[in-house]
């Protein structure tokens, strides 16, 4: 199967000498739902900016559906839809004009552009705002407007740079549903996000980037298998004064008076409940302290930071 995106040895050094990317290799398969994760300043937006032609690369190769951006940039761009991190539309233009104008830039005749714009504005719940100047929209509406604009030419690869930043939970969930539907219909999706539950819920493959290098590039399943310890928060019926001693499970009281229990991979939770039952402690609810991907992500980034500081020393 063709790769939607192929990146080889991508480097970027900004004018001030900052090495944002230090040789990135990354592939995204056609039809994939892919997450590019990393802390602030890791190189996520620079990578996607180069793919979208908003940033000039220093070295390396980028191919979109086999089209090299050095030699066939126009063909590569025709396959791409981009939802940037920050609002980047003319605030004074009307919603409908913004979307149809974008279609025009892709060479779509006005009549066809209007049909496509209506389709996506309706899907994203913005049709009743079509004559509203963009500056009058709420933050969530502006995000959806950028998604409609990115889809108006029906790209095969949709790139979203933190699409749900600053969006309330209800809207975030509805955007997830929309993106999953787009992906089911065949659109390859790459997203960056700080909400790791978002990546865990939506994506099949993941790359973790930090300090301009890819730390991990694998499937979500394989990545999560690397998680050796998970922390569960158990809400007890009565407030405990101290944490009980549980054989084989480190345990402590959290700030809220609930129990935090560390469970090694393969240990199973049954023995925790048996021991709590023996001590007369009744558990009324349970949740993971952080989502699994978040635990892994934090561990990897911390390890990388530790290694980087070791290098310097």
């Amino acid at each position: 199967m063709t790769n939607a995106l192929e990146i080889e040895g991508l480097t970027k050094t900004y004018g001030d000498g900052f090495h944002a990317l230090k040789g990135i290799d990354m592939n995204v398969r056609q039809g994939d739902f892919f997450a590019l994760l990393g802390p602030n300043g890791a190189g996520k937006s620079t990578t996607l900016g180069i793919v979208c032609s908003l940033v000039n690369k220093t070295g390396g190769k980028v191919r979109v559906f086999g089209h090299d951006i050095d030699t066939h940039l126009s063909d590569a761009k025709l396959n791409l839809g981009v939802v940037p991190q920050e609002f980047n539309f003319n605030q004074f233009e009307k919603v409908f004009d913004i979307v149809t104008t974008q279609a025009g830039y892709y060479g779509i005749p006005l009549k066809q552009a209007r049909v496509s714009a209506e389709k996506y504005l309706r899907k994203l719940g913005l049709w009743d705002k079509k004559d509203t100047p963009a500056r009058m929209l709420s933050g969530g509406m502006k995000r959806r407007l950028m998604i409609a604009r990115a889809l108006v030419h029906e790209p095969k690869l949709l790139i979203l740079d933190e699409p749900t930043a600053g969006v309330d939970i209800e809207l975030r969930r509805s955007m997830w549903t929309f993106l999953e539907e787009m992906n089911r219909q065949g659109t390859t999706i790459i997203l960056t996000t700080h909400y790791l539950e978002e990546a865990e819920a939506l994506c099949r493959n993941i790359a973790i980037i930090d300090h301009g290098r890819i730390l991990k590039h694998t499937s979500k399943r394989e990545l999560l298998q690397q998680l050796h310890v998970e922390t569960f928060v158990l809400d007890t019926e009565t407030t405990l004064e101290s944490a009980p001693e549980l054989e084989g499970f480190p345990c402590r009281l959290s700030d809220e008076g609930a129990l935090e229990v560390e469970v090694q991979k393969g240990q199973g939770l049954n023995r925790v409940f048996v021991q709590l039952e023996q001590r007369g402690i009744k558990v009324v609810s349970m949740r993971t302290k952080a989502n699994r991907l978040e635990e892994l992500f934090i561990r990897m980034v911390e390890e990388n930071a530790h290694e980087a500081s070791g290098d310097v020393a």
Binding site: S53, D75, F89, N90, T101, Q102, Y105, G107
Partner: protein
């Protein structure tokens, strides 16, 4: 990108530009109309009647071509510089950068948008001038050619200014400190034959002098310079500024990191 798609993209940019300057017509179309009417009344009627003839014509007839040209130059430049810089400032230029539109189409679209405003203003000022004087066109092809090429040239100038600008101050420096003085000293209000030899020589290095005189030749049939040399100069400048603009776009000067 296929040819038909490029035509659509070009039309989209031009229509967007026209929609922009007509939407804000009190800022774009009205001020030059008011200013030029004041010039006609004050310089043409009140002061002009005491000046008498210039270049063989009454003063009002003499200044009309220059004032039309001044309005065209200023408006063509202002439209592109303000529109393109606003897109840079709001980052909506990224809409174009991520799309497959070739750089030369982007440039052509903005230049034609600037020309649409410049020529529109030129038409408005010409119609206003008919209220003050009779216009008899001496050489229509020269009039049309000069006004179109001059408008294109200054739209290109505005584009380069917008590419280089990093703040709003930067887009007013050139119009205020370069364009306005060159226009006022470019023979709009006087014939350079009135000047001492030295200042006539200095005036000859002012490119706007050639454009104003070529246009005046088209309308009145008189000129301080050879109008065909003027046309040649405009074409050379257009080629030069087009090359600079395309190079800047390719390198992403000020628009790509």
């Amino acid at each position: 990108m296929k040819v038909q798609a490029m035509v659509t993209a070009f039309n989209t940019i031009v229509i967007r530009e026209i929609r922009r300057f007509t939407r804000i017509w009190p800022q774009t179309l009205l001020p030059p109309a008011v200013t030029m009417t004041l010039y006609f009344i004050i310089f043409g009627n009140l002061i002009g009647s005491r000046i008498g003839e210039m270049g063989g014509f009454d003063y009002m007839s003499f200044i009309v071509p220059g004032l039309i040209m001044m309005a065209v130059i200023t408006s063509s430049y202002a439209n592109v510089v303000s529109s393109f810089f606003s897109m840079k400032f709001q980052r909506s230029i990224e809409e174009l950068l991520v799309s497959p539109v070739p750089n030369w189409i982007i440039l052509a679209g903005y230049v034609c948008g600037g020309m649409a405003r410049g020529l529109g203003i030129g038409l408005i000022v010409t119609l206003l001038s008919l209220g003050f004087t009779r216009l008899e066109i001496h050489n229509l092809p020269m009039v049309v050619l000069t006004v179109f090429l001059t408008s294109a040239l200054f739209a290109l100038g505005g584009f380069i200014n917008a590419m280089l600008a990093t703040k709003f101050d930067d887009i007013s420096i050139v119009p205020t400190f370069v364009l306005t003085p060159l226009t006022y000293l470019g023979g709009v209000f006087y014939s350079i034959s009135m000047l001492p030899d030295f200042w006539q020589g200095v005036s000859m290095i002012n490119p706007i002098l050639y454009m104003v005189n070529a246009f005046r030749f088209g309308i009145l049939g008189v000129s301080d310079v050879n109008p065909f040399v003027a046309l040649g100069m405009i074409l050379v400048f257009i080629a030069l500024l087009t090359a600079i603009s395309l190079r800047m776009l390719k390198r992403g000067k000020g628009i790509r990191h």
